[in-house]
Amino acid sequence: MSFRDRLKETRAKASDGFRGGKLMSSIFRPGSPFRKGYVDSPRNRSYVVMNNVLYHLHPVKVKRHGVRLSYTLCLGGLSFFLFIVLTITGIWLMFYFRPTELAYVDIQNLQTTIAFGSLVRNMHRWGAHLMVLVVFLHMSRVFYHGAYKAPREFNWVIGVILLLLTLLLSFTGYLLPWDQLAIWAVTVGGNMAGYVPVVGAQVKFGLFAGLEATTATLLRFYVLHVLFFPFIIVIFMAVHFWRVRKDGGISGPL
């Protein structure tokens, strides 16, 4: 036996010992591909989904036509994924950002002195634009497939709320760099709220925390952006995903 073969064998043995050991068996539930002796069988295919808290979002089996990429274009999943990317990059950005007069300086520092600061900020901004776009395309896909029809009517309503929340998240985030683009875009948007009949002035005052966009507005938008809207949107997303399954999985085929 050559040295190489012996090395191979030793490595295989060590790998088996590790994957079959108590630690890995305690972490991964039966049927996991990370456990020793995983084989591709219908039973294990079910276990992979059932025994994992993240994958468990999916049913064990899905309609065959729904798996075709051309049916959904993965738009719903990508919307959710972009939300996760935005959460991760957003949390990272929070370490370097103060929603005060210093906000602009913090962004400048992010772009110039902090490692990967520019990249992460760009990812957060383009990702946000992309998410608005993908959510909108997802809605269009659902509409063209007539997927909002019974029994999925209410899930469509939740979806529209999710689109609205996405827009609100993006809009509140728009102010945070505290540059001329941010403040005037938000001023334009906030002034529109001022035209709401009867309570327009109050709505605008509540939005701006004053009569115009100031650092008080910045703090308000910051809290809405990093805490309030993400909290609300996660609740609606949970209901949305849950309803997808309860209403019988993906719609169609046409």
């Binding site: 994958y55 760009n122 383009w126 529209v160 809009f171 683009l181 334009v188």
Partner: protein, 296 residues
């Protein structure tokens, strides 16, 4: 031939053996068709009872009747075997009460000799497997079985690839395109034009046509929210195929085209003072797109 569960076969063989006074093995063999069925030529012990009650003349028990039940009992047996062959899981054993055969002796008997007569001789109390009824629901479900595949790997693998592609695309985009950062916010200096985020630029464009009450409030809330949410409740057409819902498709396509046109005009064709500009002549007046031009 469908297999009959062993325990049911055993049970009916026991019953048959008891009824005919043969061994269980023999009954089993008969039921499996390995041996000819035992034919009961005469009523066995029933007759004993028959004779006891006859003295009481109340019941006219004519001899023809006595012979009649015997063939009836025989005709029953073949049916049993035929149906037994078709068995699946659930089996209903139908009792044959041999009493009709012994019915002629009836009530008066007890008045005469209550103790001596065995009213339940072994042969009389029998349970026999008459037929095996296939378990079938009364209502047939009309639903067709759905063609399904395992989520792992058929859905999760493409999904994973899509996520990776999206991540790669986003990182690539972020590496080559710089997000805009203008001068520090200054409420005293209004840029010209001041534009909203791109997804609101269609609205801002409409604001330049109509009163803000209509374009800024009524259209977004009534059309954008209420109508949109209520759409599944307005469109009651159950069809999903595009050719059978042309109006809905047309409606949405017009909406898309309209919103898209307004947004593109707002983003690219509006310059200082919200006047019409051509992006290839006057440049881009939308800061999020600035770096896209610098890039080349």
């Amino acid at each position: 031939m469908v297999d009959i569960p062993e325990h049911l076969l055993q049970r009916s063989a026991e019953a048959r053996a008891k009824a005919l006074g043969i061994s269980i093995e023999q009954a089993m063999a008969e039921m499996k068709g390995q041996s000819d069925p035992t034919v009961i030529s005469k009523e066995p012990e029933v007759k004993v009872i028959d004779e006891t009650p006859t003295p009481t003349a109340e019941t006219p028990a004519p001899p023809p009747e006595t012979s009649a039940p015997a063939p009836a009992a025989e005709t029953v047996t073949p049916i049993k075997e035929e149906h037994a062959a078709e068995t699946t899981e659930k089996v209903a054993a139908v009792k044959i009460d041999e009493k009709p055969a012994a019915a002629k002796p009836p009530p008066p008997a007890k008045a005469d000799a209550p103790d001596e007569v065995d009213f339940a001789p072994e042969v009389k109390v029998t349970q026999r497997l008459l037929t095996v009824v296939k378990a079938k629901p009364i209502q047939k479900p009309v639903k067709e079985p759905i063609d399904k595949v395992n989520t792992w790997p058929h859905l999760m693998l493409p999904e994973f690839v899509a996520l990776m592609a999206m991540t790669a695309f986003l990182i690539f985009l972020s590496a080559i395109l710089q997000a805009p950062l203008l001068e520090e916010a200054n409420p005293n200096v209004t840029p010209n034009p001041a534009k909203a985020p791109w997804y609101f630029l269609g609205l801002q464009e409409m604001l330049s046509y109509w009163d803000p009450q209509i374009a800024g409030v009524m259209i977004p809330t009534v059309v954008g929210l209420i109508l949109w949410m209520a759409f599944p409740y307005i469109d009651r057409n159950p069809e999903t195929h595009p050719s059978k819902r042309k109006f809905a498709i047309m409606f949405y396509t017009f909406f898309l085209a309209g919103a898209g046109t307004l947004t593109i005009i707002g983003v690219l064709f509006r310059g200082p003072g919200w006047n019409w500009v051509y992006p290839w002549i006057d440049g881009i007046w939308f800061d999020d797109l600035l770096d896209w031009i610098h890039f080349e």
